[in-house]
């Protein structure tokens, strides 16, 4: 699309210049937010050093420049968090630093970028390009920037994406004093790789996607270093029990499908993966339905039901092996963009339950407040989630956008 924004806002005259001599106009944009966060943990932690109160602050800035009528652009998005108690959560990352060139139906990108694949709401199984920034959020939606060379083309018969991924990002884990955290700490100094190239292994991914009327379909293949580590028990230099991440070489084929039929959405995504000489399948799918303008109000009420499956059963790498998700989303469609999401995940094998409530709204023009509460109930000692059982929390974030 043509980036007419900044030039056009200055008025028709400037806009006209942008149109007639496109290569002359370079537009700059500078946006971002500062977001203090407060967390309360009602239960005492299992591990010494875990506190009941935590505060931290995150900052993210995006600087963009567009030229060539918007067909070329550079985006730079650094992110940083400063955390009171968890040294691992105090971290910085370059979410994006890319140059992009668009010509006709082709798009080329070089640098650090983020890419999302998938359709479901809770488990994001086929989304594999970026590593999860786990200290940011348990939902797996916060990602670390991934270095890449990417080519994308839109043709009549669909969209093709190709990625070369020359550098690997390790998942972030909370430290001993962080919450929620594993009771046995992850020792990142002993991280192991399936390939001798370690982080320098050149990974490859490709995806085909297309829309067939009400159906949106994506098929993808990935070969390289798996983003989900296997966590192996071991000892650190002091002889303490630790978990050592192993990043294996994997081959993965995946599919994601969504059918949009009036107010019903039907979703499925899953992959077949070969890892450490083993083959397995994970899949998730479900429905989403929205009741519009309930009780003659402007409010919409959405229901989400999904099922998550792993044919290996529960492992410490993936607790969601036979789990059901039920969610309710209420959006009053007001000026403040209020939204409330209530979700529960139930492990059908163990009856362990995770409940979450997320509420958010805007205050004024520039403040956005989100409140999140998570409760873990009935988690057995044998459950991979047991470490979190004492880490129920309430979290408040107040973002100031600029």
């Amino acid at each position: 699309m043509k980036k007419l924004k900044a030039t056009c806002i200055a008025g028709l005259f400037t806009c006209g210049i942008a149109m007639t001599t496109p290569s002359m106009a370079t537009e700059f944009e500078f946006t971002g937010f500062v977001e203090p966060e407060f967390q309360v943990f009602p239960n005492r932690g299992n591990v010494a050093g875990q506190k009941r109160f935590n505060s931290s602050v995150a900052i993210e800035v995006t600087a963009e420049a567009f030229w060539d009528n918007g067909d070329q652009f550079v985006v730079f998005t650094p992110f940083a968090r400063l955390d009171q108690n968890d040294g691992n959560r105090t971290h910085a990352d370059i979410r994006e630093l890319k140059y992009a060139y668009v010509t006709g139906d082709w798009e080329f990108r070089v640098g650090i970028d983020k890419v999302f694949w998938g359709v479901t709401e809770v488990a994001h199984l086929v989304d594999i390009i970026n590593q999860t920034d786990q200290v940011e959020s348990l939902d797996g939606e916060e990602k670390l920037g991934q270095p890449m060379v990417a080519v994308s083309t839109v043709q009549d018969f669909g969209v093709f994406d190709f990625y070369l991924l020359p550098y690997f990002r390790e998942r972030t884990f909370p430290s001993m004093s962080g919450r929620p955290a594993f009771d046995i700490p992850v020792d990142e100094t002993q991280t192991m790789y399936g390939s001798n190239d370690k982080r320098q292994h050149l990974d490859f991914a490709t995806r085909y996607s297309n829309t067939f009327e009400d159906w949106d379909v994506g098929i993808a293949y990935f070969q390289g270093t798996g983003r989900d580590p296997v966590l192996m028990p071991g000892f650190d230099t002091g002889g303490n029990l630790v978990l050592i991440p192993l990043y294996a070489q994997i081959k993965q084929a995946s599919i994601d499908v969504q059918a949009t039929k009036d107010a019903w959405l039907y979703k499925f995504e899953g992959f077949w993966r070969r890892e450490l000489g083993e083959e397995y399948i994970q899949a998730t799918g479900g429905i989403e339905y929205t009741f519009y303008q309930i009780f003659d109000s402007a409010s919409d009420l959405g229901i989400v039901a999904e099922y998550i499956w792993d044919d290996r059963g529960a492992t410490n790498a993936n607790a969601f092996a036979n789990d059901a998700v039920a969610g309710l989303r209420w959006t009053p469609n007001d000026e403040a963009s209020t939204a409330v999401l209530l979700a529960s995940v139930v492990d059908i094998d163990t009856q362990a339950v995770s409940l979450s409530l997320e509420a958010e709204r805007r205050f004024g023009d520039d403040y956005f407040v989100s409140l999140e509460a998570r409760v873990f109930e009935n988690v057995q000692r044998t459950d991979p989630l047991f470490s979190f059982a004492d880490d129920d929390f309430i979290q408040l974030r107040v973002a100031r956008y600029f």
Partner: protein, 312 residues
């Protein structure tokens, strides 16, 4: 078929202030003389002939296309809508900026800024393609909405969420909820194709300085939020000037007043000020268009899910 922007809705006239700006100076004098002569003739007619006949004659004198007569109000209403559409054929593609000022019942205001790109689709039975990019409030900066409009089926819509870089196909069945918390529904300013309504001409009457055709139109889309709309379309340029929206209980819900019409490429009228008043809640939204660019060089490749991710 028609443009995506709000101006298409078929409303009417409350063209009080801005008429002078809307016509080129050269035409003004001629038009005024014409109007004066017309007024005298109409006045004379009113004395001696029934009103129906006088309006029909007034129309002919104004040199407009011949519409079906008042004895066939459905055909006449349809013809008025077709004329509105015909006059905007060939805009090809446009880009424009949109500012919305939301005012609640307590008089508190908040603002939104968006950009709108439209690609004209000339195939029969298909609506235009559009891409809306949100700039403000800042927390939704970069969020973008891609729509392929259909006449009687739900549109195809994809939403891009920049924080997670995710493109989501969304249900578009309901188009009558508040758009961005405003008094506009997506239905109110999405592509206004002739085939979306059935029509019934009611009367012709003065609207501000102009004459208007008053047409009742009934949405054919089964999930429309309205039982009917009453649109005032001026008899000179065939542009909507005012629209009244009746809710599912057939109560008057909202009134849209469209002013500050400007002419582009000697053919395409665009209202730049759209004021939507909700009579049931006391809230209102003013939508101001600016920086219209016609022939903005947009092609189908600017309306793909890939383009949606690049939208700024």
């Amino acid at each position: 078929m028609t443009r995506f922007s709000i101006p298409d809705a078929n409303p009417i006239v409350r063209l009080t202030v801005n008429l002078r700006e809307e016509n080129q100076p050269m035409r003004m004098n001629a038009l005024n003389l014409h109007n004066m002569a017309l007024a005298w003739i109409i006045a004379a007619m009113l004395v001696i002939v029934p009103v129906g006949i006088s309006t029909a004659i007034a129309e002919e004198l104004a040199g407009l296309d011949t519409l079906p007569g008042a004895d066939d109000p459905a055909a006449r209403g349809l013809a008025i809508a077709q004329e509105t559409e015909r006059r905007d054929v060939g805009f090809n593609n446009t880009s424009a900026n949109m500012q919305m000022i939301l005012t609640n019942a307590y008089g508190e205001t908040s603002e939104r800024e968006l950009r709108n790109l439209v690609l004209e689709i000339t195939e029969d039975n298909e609506g235009d393609w559009s891409l809306i990019v949100f700039d403000k409030p800042r927390d939704v900066d970069g969020t973008a909405l891609l729509s392929y409009a259909h006449i009687l089926d739900p549109d195809d819509q994809w939403m891009y969420l920049p924080a997670v870089k995710r493109v989501k196909r969304i249900s578009s069945v309901n188009k009558s909820g508040p758009f961005m918390g405003s008094e506009f529904a997506f239905e109110d300013f999405s592509s206004q194709e002739v085939g979306k309504y059935s029509y019934n001409w009611l009367r012709d009457e003065a609207c501000g300085d102009r004459m208007c055709h008053v047409t009742e139109r009934t949405p054919l889309y089964e999930h429309s939020g309205y039982t009917r709309q009453i649109a005032w379309t001026d008899t000179t340029d065939y542009q909507p000037r005012t629209i009244e929206y009746y809710d599912r209980k057939d109560q008057l819900l909202k009134t849209l007043t469209m002013t500050d019409y400007r002419l582009y490429e000697d053919k395409h009228w665009r209202a730049h000020d759209l004021f939507m008043e909700n009579h049931q809640t006391g809230k209102n939204t003013r939508l101001v268009w600016s920086d219209f660019v016609f022939q903005a060089g947009l092609t189908e490749s600017d309306f793909t899910t890939n383009a949606l991710k690049r939208a700024r």
